[in-house]
Symmetry: C2
């Protein structure tokens, strides 16, 4: 026996205006900004730990870390010797453009001394989807342990992303998951979405995603 | 380099009043209600699929399923031949007491024909923590693939739960996770919290959690 009730979505405020302002600041400073979203433990910070050591040979990198509590992620990323601002939201379940603007005001280095800015959102597959931050590209990190159906169950997040990183490829032999079905689910809600299968632990599959990121940046500069 | 900024938590509305009203309705009807919270893919629905076949031999069971989109979880649980109401929040990142009240009004069977009600929240380790639903016990399901530090990073959720189910024990050999550290992190934010290590896939460790649930229910009846 099953009954289904739909509850209407509330409208958002004027976050978009503030996001546009952030984007303008970033563009003026020549900074390409990439935001990362995903569930708790999907591997967002580990992805940064994997790609920053390679990217910092070429680019001056900054990171804005968003967490409900603790600066654990900020400390992990700062250990890579890049400029990090940790936003502790104190209960808020997502970053918004206002918080990111505050972080831009409080980077450990001047904004125009950076080339590439990563913004890691609070671990949450729902709320961050609705808030543009001013980023040039948004990336969702999904752990394959979360199950094939997540794009269908959390469609807004997968609709509003520019690429999908399916992480923890090293666990494929041990988890009953069908990656083709997972990708198909993502393409139901977002046809044509670029999908990358990676293991942030072993490094497998990371290069193609970095290539994608560099292509996005190359297009933005033109 | 690392800077840290704290943003203040907004105060909640009068959800608590509505939750108290739900609790009163449940008590009057003789229904013991248990809510499940956790990240997307932590195994909340799989836990229900694992325990309901055993529990329904003794109890008349109802389930309220909360999802942002789709009735997939509702259909999975309804296949176990119990009364299910699926709440599709249409973007809202958590259940609140008002939604649960609506679900109680729209169960496929009269409330007083149930003994045990499970309420599965939206997959989200942040927002649901703040909203009492009227449940008698709250349970957090945490997949060990999410990492040891999650209780420290999402403390509200672990503070406001009555037990913690650490799931996916079958993956221990393949994941670099320290379960003692995970439990210790939970006990930092919630000293004395009962913790159960289970695999909803194999059934390992499920019995002690069911025993805990039955003890809670026995105390509630007194």
């Amino acid at each position: 026996m099953l009954q289904t009730i739909r509850i209407r979505e509330k409208l958002l405020g004027k976050n978009d205006e503030l996001a546009a302002h952030n984007r303008e600041r970033l563009d003026t400073a020549g900074v390409f900004a990439v935001s990362l979203c995903g569930s708790p433990g999907s591997g967002k910070t580990t992805l940064l730990e994997r790609v920053i050591p390679a990217l910092r040979l070429k680019f001056r990198i900054g990171v804005i870390e968003g967490d409900v509590e603790t600066d654990r992620d900020g400390r992990r990323v700062a250990a890579l010797d890049v400029a990090v601002t940790q936003l502790v939201t104190g209960g808020a379940c997502h970053l918004d453009a206002k918080m990111v603007g505050l972080a831009l005001d409080n980077l450990p280095v001047p904004l125009h001394d950076l080339d590439l800015l990563f913004i890691e959102n609070v671990g949450n597959l729902v709320c961050p989807a609705a808030y543009a931050l001013g980023e040039n590209a948004r990336v969702v990190v999904l752990s394959l342990t979360e199950g094939e159906d997540k794009p269908l169950k959390y469609p807004a997040m997968f609709r509003k992303t520019d690429s999908l990183v399916i992480n923890k490829l090293d666990l494929v032999p041990y988890v009953p998951v069908d990656l083709q079905e997972m990708e198909a689910a993502a393409h139901v809600v977002h046809p044509g979405l670029p999908v990358f299968r990676v293991s942030c632990t072993t490094g497998e599959g990371i290069e193609p995603w970095i290539d994608w990121l560099m292509e996005r940046r190359a297009c933005w500069k033109k």
